[in-house]
Symmetry: C4
Subunit: 239 residues, 4 copies
């Protein structure tokens, strides 16, 4: 093994369960049990000050090992037709970084996020179908709204606030969501996540704990919103 | 480490899996898997004869460690604008005690409870929505009613009893539920728990086993009640 | 410890994971995760040639330890107002044997069962409500019917057979179900289980594997039957 | 132990968690938790270059041990009234190979699969009931369609493709599905799985990872399809 490879592997090797490479493995397995990342879909990325840790594309998310993780320097310029994304470490296996990478990057650059989660939760997909015309999921007067932060990185919402999550159209290639997600994030600076029609949701936070907590709160609100709508209850009061 | 810190840490350090600090960690992880405490919501507190063990506010409930637990002396006077709550031990991390503390205290002082559980279970929230007008969830003729105790600390209900759980309005700040919860507990002395509209449920018992068992029975009854109502079945016979 | 206590404890002490006392602990924990035995309800008993192993009443079923298990000689006469049930071993704790004991005994004496399972599964309870008038749950043309045995201890049903599970009324005391369960078992000798209105189901088999397998098949069929009925699909063809 | 038995046992004995005999045990336990293989139904088989590993029939799928696995040489002629299936290794217990064996073999011979999965998932069964007249489950415009491969072994579908899964009639004996499954696979060469009415689904892939991933994607699509249909939403756009 070359000295360089050893140094690169050290980036994802740690006995600390809270090291990003260990956390991504553990959290993806936990998200699998929640039905968020089955069929290799979805995942989580973590950014420390100057490094981004990302899982591979198209792998079983509940079976990721720390050695499978990509490490990228942050910040870096957008890849263009003439430049490639820069990596500090690639897994030795024949793997490609997650197709969500440009979407995760939106969360880093636009909201200064330390972590971003993408799920294919059926609660998210059902909500995009039931609120398809409005292009916006809305719910009010739910305790769990208090767990969601304004813009995903600001102060938490109040019980008296109405939660609004924009729904953008899906695209055949995940990478192509980058611009419409960016546009929605800029148009709705208070939104803590972006729903993708017939696809899922992107949620971010200052760190992995805050991203995870907010994903749980949003998924809960999407689930109860869908139940309420199907039961004939209105999800927003005083409209 | 000072002698004082060592003594304080000893309050939450034990190899006994049934020590309150260990139990709170284990039970919160188990409640997370049931969907009761996702997004940092909900939790359990345990009171032994003269000590109360409480988890921190705003933390991932499935990742609590015994060292995160607060210990308070019991009884103690209500904190007032001029006095603070008294602690025997605070975790060294920058944590605040659970926002449910005043609500848990209601269970201790009004019903002499040894444990109190708060969940954000969607069964509870859906029930508060479907029984919102009556301000009371009611169900009869269900075997699981026999697992619920009169007032939460008395003899168990009979199969022939109708279970009634009052629903109080939610407030923007969890602490502000204290008075209306107290009022409902006093107005309905037979109630084994208090539902909070669009929020969840508080359930208590003589000890953690009884509090947990009754929470499971009530959650089961809320779930089947919601299913029955949505299927067009009446939940109370002979009304 | 007296020699007698040592001998009695030996009845529930084994390193073999398939020893009945170990199995009951393990299977109850597994049934808890399926939602079959929450709130201390339900459970499983196992009979070897001449011994019956039974869990205590009113305990958290997912936290049973082998040392909590009762052992009874088999066969033995019914307890009467003048005689008690005979035990080979009682746990030292202040515990009573499961209130299901007389019901489990029905399965032993009437069908020569080696194991009997009782669940409070919501699928069972919903089925008793949706088929309450017919006093019989019926479903046909489902692959899982092939996992159910005629009478619970005979050959398996064919895909072309209609599954019928009688529903008996619930009683305030679980013990009082004994006679009506016995009556239903004798009136419907092909039934592989007995549903109890607003309560749950009893299922048995030649051994714990067959009892468990049939409980899983019946629970699956109750679940799909309820889904079909609520979706407006008829559960029996060619009626 | 004879030298021959030792050699045969070596076929299913390995410390490598990715050895087929270990994988079948682990994956079946995981499928049990998903509700795919309860009541001994369903399972997975794995084919390496020249060997097929298959679980026994009628056993609890979550409790399989590597020593229970059958190993068969591949390829081999179909068993006929005059010839038996050939085995390299049979478990010593009194077991029969899975009744799905001829169905799994279809996947090997017709699509050159390296693994085939059969589930009794209720999502699959509900879909066969709700799309019974069309004899074809169809869904379009779902991100998870992109995880499904044309024919199960070709390139993945695009988001713009409509997923079609044929539904064949069930038969009293599982083996008798062989011909109609084969017929459906030949008639619909783009199908990545075959649904069986009131029974479940067969899904295959080049290897166990691809078979598992596609089963998860298809199960997800069946689940969301059923939810959409019951909510009055059409599952195929632009029809």
């Amino acid at each position: 093994m070359s000295a360089s490879t050893e140094q690169e592997d050290a980036l994802v090797t740690s006995t600390d369960p809270l090291h990003p490479a260990n956390l991504i493995s553990e959290l993806c397995a936990s998200f699998y049990r929640l039905g968020w990342v089955t069929g290799t879909g979805g995942g989580i990325c973590i950014r420390t000050h100057d490094k981004v840790y990302i899982a591979p594309s198209g792998v079983q998310k509940e079976r990721i090992e720390p050695s499978h993780i990509f490490v990228l320097p942050y910040p870096q310029a957008e890849p263009s037709p003439h430049t490639d994304r820069i990596f500090l470490r690639r897994p030795k296996l024949n793997l490609k970084e997650s197709a969500c990478t440009p979407l995760f990057w939106n969360a880093f650059t636009i909201r200064n996020a330390g972590s971003c989660i993408h799920t294919h939760s059926q609660n998210a997909v059902m909500a995009t179908l039931l609120w398809e015309k409005e292009k916006m999921f809305k719910i009010s007067h739910q305790e769990m709204i208090k767990g969601v932060r304004i813009g995903g990185n600001g102060p938490t919402l109040s019980y008296l606030d109405t939660l609004e999550v924009p729904i953008i159209d899906n695209t055949p290639n995940e990478e192509d969501l980058k611009d419409s997600m960016k546009e929605a994030m800029e148009k709705y600076p208070r939104a803590a996540g972006i729903l993708v029609l017939r696809h899922g949701i992107y949620v971010w936070g200052d760190d992995w704990q805050k991203a995870k907590t907010q994903t749980e709160c949003l998924d809960y609100l999407l689930e109860i919103g869908v139940k309420m709508k199907l039961a004939g209850l209105q999800t927003v009061l005083n409209e």
